[in-house]
């Protein structure tokens, strides 16, 4: 029978000592960790200060609000505050309890978990004989641990990274650079004017101009809401030239007295955008008009039925007789809205009508010649490239493949009909019009050659007769047969080859 009081007292004392060690360790560890990065923290405030001051000088924005003295103080306090906060966090977040403390003694003194095991078994009520024996076994070890010296416990001491003090020098230099930029660099007004009132006026924030000046020339906003048929009296190029003059830039809505302001650029951009918007409007207006004027022609273009084509040819020939041919018209292009900058007028509308008709007539000749290919494509129900037109294959929606052809059939109800684009089987030589290089005489094409017939005539060869003889006995042992070890690079080659062979197929390959 043995009393557990002594063991409990020893374990309690060890737990308290271990907790102190652990807290000290946690604090040191956290400080050490923060000291690894404190040099970077010391650089943060000066670097931000320099960047903000530089931006303020060059761009005119007020980014840094602290005074120089406060800036220096912040730069000095920030690393210290970082170390303190990190240490406090590390100290607070480190779990320190009784079991951890005893485990520390077990580990450092090599007691094979005897102390923490005994402490765990002491907390339970029903102990097995081996658990009781384990508790008894821990008593001398607990006494020994109590008498052990504190230095025996190994705790890593924080290391100050003295080699990083160069960052502190860099921080000081950055602060100096920031001060220099803020006071001396690129401030001609300060240098030119000696009047204190002017200096105060320069230092004060910029004041916006009066309200009546602001709303003098809001032409752009009105131009934006003009209808497409409205033809502005001022061409875009004129607006760019006029609005980009410095004299008028001061009259812009956001104009400032500071010559370094970027408002002239804004006005130029606004003028350009207004002109471009006008161009776009006119282009779209022309397209709308041309599109509304000949809806029947567009239908004839899209439809491929022969009777309707004949009717369209007749109507086109009638129009051709009435109106002369104009070679300079670009009605179709204008009708599609791609000719930016053209002003729509009534004459242009009629021109576009005429050009559309003329082009329809011109394209009819090509349509007739393409009928055979279209029929072939429809019969094959496959997407083939239109080689003579140098275009990509079209899908069933008559749109170039790659844009619409990859879409799934929306009416895929299983009733057959035209499905999606099918893959073309075969080679380019199967398509008409694809040039194939002629085979030169006595030269073979590059690539594999299938030998159909080999003219090999056997010839008798003379050689000395080989007399047979017995193998004979082995004179000595072969010895150890070592496995051939590959060199590292050979092993890597073999390894990479088999790894590549065993790589799972990608999604594209799987498809």
């Amino acid at each position: 029978m043995a009393n557990t009081d002594s063991l409990r007292k020893h374990l309690d004392g060890l737990a308290r000592r271990g907790a102190r060690y652990l807290r000290r360790y946690a604090l040191k560890e956290a400080v050490e960790w923060s000291m690894r990065h404190v040099h970077l923290v010391a650089l943060v405030v000066p670097a931000v200060f320099v960047v903000c001051v530089a931006i303020e000088r060059f761009a005119g924005n007020d980014l840094w609000v602290l005074s120089p003295i406060v800036t220096v103080l912040v730069a000095l306090v920030a690393p210290v505050a970082y170390v303190l906060i990190a240490g406090a966090l590390g100290f607070a977040l480190r779990p320190v309890n009784r079991t951890y403390s005893l485990a520390l003694f077990d580990r450092e003194l090599g007691y094979k978990d005897r102390l923490q095991t005994a402490d765990e078994f002491l907390r339970s009520s029903d102990l097995t004989p081996f658990e009781l024996a384990s508790v008894e076994d821990a008593i001398p070890y607990a006494e020994k641990a109590t008498n052990s010296r504190l230095q025996d416990i190994r705790i890593a001491t924080p290391t100050l990274y003295t080699g990083k003090w160069g960052h502190g020098v860099a921080a000081v230099l950055l602060l100096g650079a920031g001060m220099f930029i803020s006071f001396f660099v690129f401030n001609p007004q300060v240098e030119a004017s000696s009047d204190p009132d002017e200096l105060i006026a320069l230092a004060t924030p910029e004041v916006l101009p009066p309200v009546d000046e602001v709303f003098e020339a809001p032409q752009d906003s009105r131009d934006e809401v003009t209808p497409p048929t409205h033809v502005p009296s001022q061409t875009p190029k004129e607006s760019v030239v006029v609005e980009s003059t410095p004299a008028e830039s001061t009259d812009s809505p956001l104009g400032r007295a500071n010559p370094s302001d970027s408002n002239p650029k804004q006005s130029v951009q606004m003028g350009l955008s207004a002109g471009m918007s006008q161009d776009n409007k006119t282009g779209s207006a022309a397209s709308n008009l041309s599109g509304q004027a000949n809806p029947d022609k567009k239908k004839k273009e899209t439809k491929s039925e022969p009777p309707k084509e004949q009717e369209s040819k007749e109507s086109k020939s009638a129009i051709d007789k009435e109106q002369p041919k104009d070679e300079s018209a670009t009605g179709i292009a204008g009708g599609k809205g791609t000719s930016a900058g053209r002003q729509a007028s009534s004459t242009d509308v009629t021109e576009s009508l005429n050009k559309t008709d003329q082009d329809d007539l011109d394209t009819d000749v090509d349509l007739e010649s393409d009928d055979e290919e279209d029929e072939e494509q429809e019969a094959a129900n496959a997407a083939r490239p239109m080689i003579n037109q140098r275009k990509a294959a079209v899908d069933r929606r008559l749109s170039p493949s790659g844009m619409m052809g990859q879409e799934e059939n929306e009416q895929n109800n299983g009733r057959g009909g035209a499905s999606g684009r099918k893959k073309t089987r075969g080679v380019a030589a199967m398509l008409l019009g694809v040039p194939q290089p002629d085979q030169l005489r006595s030269q073979i094409n590059p690539g594999r050659v299938k030998i159909q017939r080999e003219r090999a005539v056997p010839h008798p060869s003379e050689a000395d007769t080989v007399a047979s003889e017995s193998r004979g006995e082995i004179d000595e042992s072969i010895g150890k047969v070592a496995r051939h070890e590959l060199k590292p690079w050979m092993r890597n080659v073999v390894s990479n080859y088999f790894l590549a062979m065993r790589e799972p197929p990608t999604e594209e390959e799987g498809e």
Binding site: T4, L22, L104, F130, A133, S134, S495, L499
Partner: protein
């Protein structure tokens, strides 16, 4: 906390532990009369025998694997049988089969002829030369301690221990053990070449005129008692936690898996790995004069318990990564519970 008295009225724990250690040492002494060197292999075989597990001995021919098991069977007076596995061996050859026998009255009847699998200590020599069909016949015997032939089920007598050997070099004509079979072995022990000074002892013992006799130290019943003592060793929570973390670390993409196990392991240890770690650590703790296991005991038995349960992928084989290097990494990466690190 209420005061608690240690009332260890059953002082047999210390006595049992002392008896356990004494018997273990005696067996080891007898085995080492014949077996020169290889102390880790000898201790591993004895530990597995007492812990109730099976052992897979791997080494090139001529290192004394078969002799070790023979010496052990001589030291432990149990029924011993040896099976030399060959590719044409069938399950009936090791389990037993029904044969036609003639009775005293002259009648004929079918009777069951027991195979070599029905014994206490089985030496399965060159187990990887048998086909998977025959290898699988060992599964039931190793796990359930029974053999089923037809509609007859035979309970195997304790202690029951299968000690298999295999040659890692000569792989042609062999059938690698399936994972289910490997998992049933408690230990996989690697038998290496002896040291230079051990060769002198081998020459003296084996080529002289004196013959070494192995004395019977104990019997099967004693082994069963030792097994009960080992199972009674106390297990603190920290040791359980550490064993679980180690086993989970071998499983790729688990909570404790390391980068190396994620990259090179295709199949990690099963829960049998935790059982094996605990049983082997208990024996190790008693042998080191402790009544409860510690994390150091688990570390000591981690290699033989886990190395055959870590199935490597092709990339590991191509990069010459071994299971022991994976376990090295796991032991280094997995933190001890309640550690200040």
């Amino acid at each position: 906390m209420a005061e608690q008295q240690i009332t260890n009225e059953d002082p047999r724990a210390a006595e049992q532990a002392a008896h356990f250690k004494e018997v273990f040492q005696n067996i080891r002494t007898e085995v080492t009369k014949m077996m020169v060197g290889q102390p880790e292999v000898v201790d591993g075989v004895l530990t597995a025998l007492i812990a109730g597990g099976h052992v897979l001995l791997e080494g090139v021919p001529g290192l004394g694997k078969t002799m070790l098991v023979r010496c052990l069977s001589d030291a432990v007076s149990v029924q011993f049988s040896r099976i030399q596995f060959t590719p044409d061996m069938m399950p009936a050859d090791i389990q037993g089969t029904m044969i036609l026998t003639e009775t005293a009255s002259g009648a004929h009847e079918l009777s069951f002829q027991e195979g070599p699998l029905i014994a206490n200590l089985i030496l399965a020599d060159e187990i990887n030369r048998a086909t998977p069909k025959t290898q699988s016949a060992l599964l039931e015997a190793m796990q359930e301690r029974q053999v089923t032939v037809g509609n007859r089920t035979i309970q195997l007598e304790e202690p029951y221990c299968v000690m298999a050997t295999q040659n890692p070099v000569e792989q042609e004509g062999t059938y690698p053990l399936p994972e289910a079979q490997l998992d049933r072995f408690l230990f996989k022990l690697l038998v290496d070449y002896p040291e230079e000074n051990e060769y002198y002892e081998i020459i003296d013992r084996t080529t002289g005129t004196t013959e070494v006799e192995i004395n019977h130290i104990t019997d099967g019943a004693e082994i069963v008692k030792l097994r009960e003592i080992a199972r009674a060793v106390a297990v603190p929570t920290a040791a359980k936690t550490y064993a679980i973390r180690l086993v989970m670390a071998t499983q790729p993409n688990s909570a404790y898996s390391t980068d190396k196990s994620n990259a090179y392991v295709s199949l990690g240890s099963s829960p049998r790995g935790v059982q094996g770690l605990m049983l082997a650590a208990k024996v190790h703790a008693i042998l080191n004069d402790r009544f409860s296991i510690s994390t150091d005991d688990i570390k000591a038995v981690a290699y033989p318990v886990l190395r055959h349960r870590v199935i490597l992928n092709f990339q590991a084989q191509a990069s010459n990564v071994t299971p022991d290097s994976i376990i090295d990494d796991i032991l280094e990466q997995v933190k001890l519970p309640r550690s200040v690190d």
